[in-house]
Symmetry: C2
Subunit: 340 residues, 2 copies
Amino acid sequence: MKIILDGMGGDHAPQEIVKGAVEAAAEISDEIIIVGEPEAIKHELKKNKYKGQQISVVPAHDVITMHDSPVRAIRRKTDSSMVVGLNMLKDGEGDMFVSAGNTGALVVGARLILGRIRGIDRPALASIYPDMTGGEPGMLVDAGASSESKARNLLEYALMGSTYVEKVWGRENPRVGLVNLGAEESKGTSVTKDAYQMLANSHMNFVGNIEGRDVPKGACDVIVCDGFTGNVILKLTEGVSLSIFKLVKNSLMESLKSKIGGLLVKSNLTALKEEFDYEEYGGAPVLGVNRPVIKMHGSSNSKAVKSAILRGLPYARENVVEIIKQEMLDVEEYIEEEEE
Amino acid sequence: MKIILDGMGGDHAPQEIVKGAVEAAAEISDEIIIVGEPEAIKHELKKNKYKGQQISVVPAHDVITMHDSPVRAIRRKTDSSMVVGLNMLKDGEGDMFVSAGNTGALVVGARLILGRIRGIDRPALASIYPDMTGGEPGMLVDAGASSESKARNLLEYALMGSTYVEKVWGRENPRVGLVNLGAEESKGTSVTKDAYQMLANSHMNFVGNIEGRDVPKGACDVIVCDGFTGNVILKLTEGVSLSIFKLVKNSLMESLKSKIGGLLVKSNLTALKEEFDYEEYGGAPVLGVNRPVIKMHGSSNSKAVKSAILRGLPYARENVVEIIKQEMLDVEEYIEEEEE
C-alpha cells in the first residue's frame, strides 16, 4: 500500500505530521508519500534522523488553512497539499489519503475530486465517540458533512459506518442505533420515522432508536444521525465533559486542602481526560467517496498521526470502498421502493 | 391569584404534591386548588396537619399515567386530574395550572383545551438548562413539544422564551442564542439560516449562533432550537454529566483508599450533583397557549412543587400571555414578509 499524507494540514504541521510518519514507517512496510513544501518536510525528516527509502516527498507549494472557505479553496488552491494529495489518490498514485487539514475542505475535496460511490447520495464524515462506561468507543456518522439529511441518507450512513466498523475496526456484527427523541419506533421526525423502517428492514444489526442520554453509554457501535445533530452531539459532549471536569476539580481542590490530596486529584483527572482523547484510536474516515480518505484531528501530534496511519490502513487494504459499493447495489432497489 | 394544582400527576403523587402545596401556602396568600382523588388528597392534607381555607380540593377520579398516549388520554380521560384542571383554567376558575404529569399529554392538553395564542404557530415546552461555569441557568426552548420546526417557529420560541425570562425570572434584556453547527451566520440548515436573519432583524437581544460546546457554558439566557435538537441536548447533557461523575468517583475512590478521602470525595460530588437538580428554580412553562401552564419534573418532591408554585406565579401575575400576544401582533407582519 502507498499512503499519501498531507504534510501541511493541521495545527502542528509539518513537524508532528512528519514525526508521526517516521514513527509509523518503523512499524509497517508500506510506502508513505508526504505532500507539501519540500524544504520544510525534508528539514523535518532530517530532524527525525530519517534516511530510508520508505518515505518520499511530493512537492505542493500552497496550504489550505482553517480560515479558507472549503469549496473556494478546493477550486482555487490547486497547488495545495490537500488538492495535490487528493489528485494523486484519484490518479492511482497512492491507496489512501490522510490529512489533519480543514475538515470542510477535505470533505468537499473528496467529493469533488474522488467522486461519490455509485448509489451514495451524500458522503459523510465519521467521528469516534467515547463509551463513558469504559467500553470500546463507537463511530458517529454523520459528524457534519451535510447539515440536512433525508431518510435514505441516514440508511447510507448506517451502512457505511457499519461496514467500516466491521472491516477496519474488526468488530463483528456492529450494533447500529438511530439517534432519536424517544425509544419507541413511532417517535421522531418524519425523516427519523422513515429511516427507522428502512433500518429495521435492512440486513444490519439495528438495535433501534437511541436517546441522548444513552449515546455516551456505549448503547451501540454505529451512532446514526444527521450532520446537524452529529455536530451538536460531539461539541456538547466536549463542552459538558470539560465543564464537569473543571467543576469537580475546583470543588475537590478546595476541600482537599493538603498538597498531596490536590496533586492526587489532579493526576487522576488528567488520566481520565486522556481517556477521551483517543489518540490511540486513529482518525475518522470520510465515507461514501470512491477512494479511502482519513481525517485526523486538527491538533494531532505525532502519536495521533502514527495511529491514524496504522489504524486506517485496513480502509485501503480491505477494500472497504468496494464492499460499500456492492452493498449499495443490494439496497438500492429497496430504497427506491420506499421512496415511491 | 388562584393556582390549580394537578394532585395526581408525577411519580410521587399525591404525597409530595400535597406536601409541596402546604409548604407553598405558608408563604403566599394566593389560593391553591388541588385537583384529584378527594379522599387521597384530604388524607395527605391531614397528614401534613393542614386545616386552613387557602387550599381546597376539586374532585377528579381518573389519572393520566406516563404510559398513556397523549392525544388519546386528553380526549378520553375527561375525568382525569389533568383534563379537569385544564378545563377549570380555561373556564376562568383559576389563573395558572401546575402539573408533574405526562409531559406529552400536558402539552397536547394545553394546546387542545386552552388553544394557541393568536399568531403562534406552535406552542413550545421550555426547560431550565444549567450554566456549568457557575452562573444562573438559562432556558431552552423548545424542549420537545414539536419534533420539527420552521424558521418562524424558532423565532416564536425565541420571543416567548425571552419574554418569560424577562418577566418571570426578572432578567433584563435576556441574551437569545440559536443552536447551530457553527458560529458564522452562513452556517446551518436552511431553517437555521432563515431563523438567524429573522432573529437578527428582531428587537430581541440576539447574540448569534451558539455551538454545542458553548451551550453548557452560559453563552446565553434563552437557548433556541427545534424540539428534536432540544430533546437530544437535554438528555445528552444528563447522560454525559452522570457518566463523568461516575468515572471521576470510581477513579478517585480507587486511589484515595482511605475512608476519609473516599467520604470527602463522595460528599463533594453529591453537593455538585445537587447543583444540577434545579429544584430551587421551579418548573418549566408551556409557552404559546392562552393561559399559564407550568410543567414540573415527573420526579418532583415537595420542595420542587413548592418552588414551581412560587417561582411560576409571575407567569400569571405579570400577564405574560397577554404580553406575548401583543408582541406577536408586532412581529406577525414581519414574519409574513419574510415568508413570501
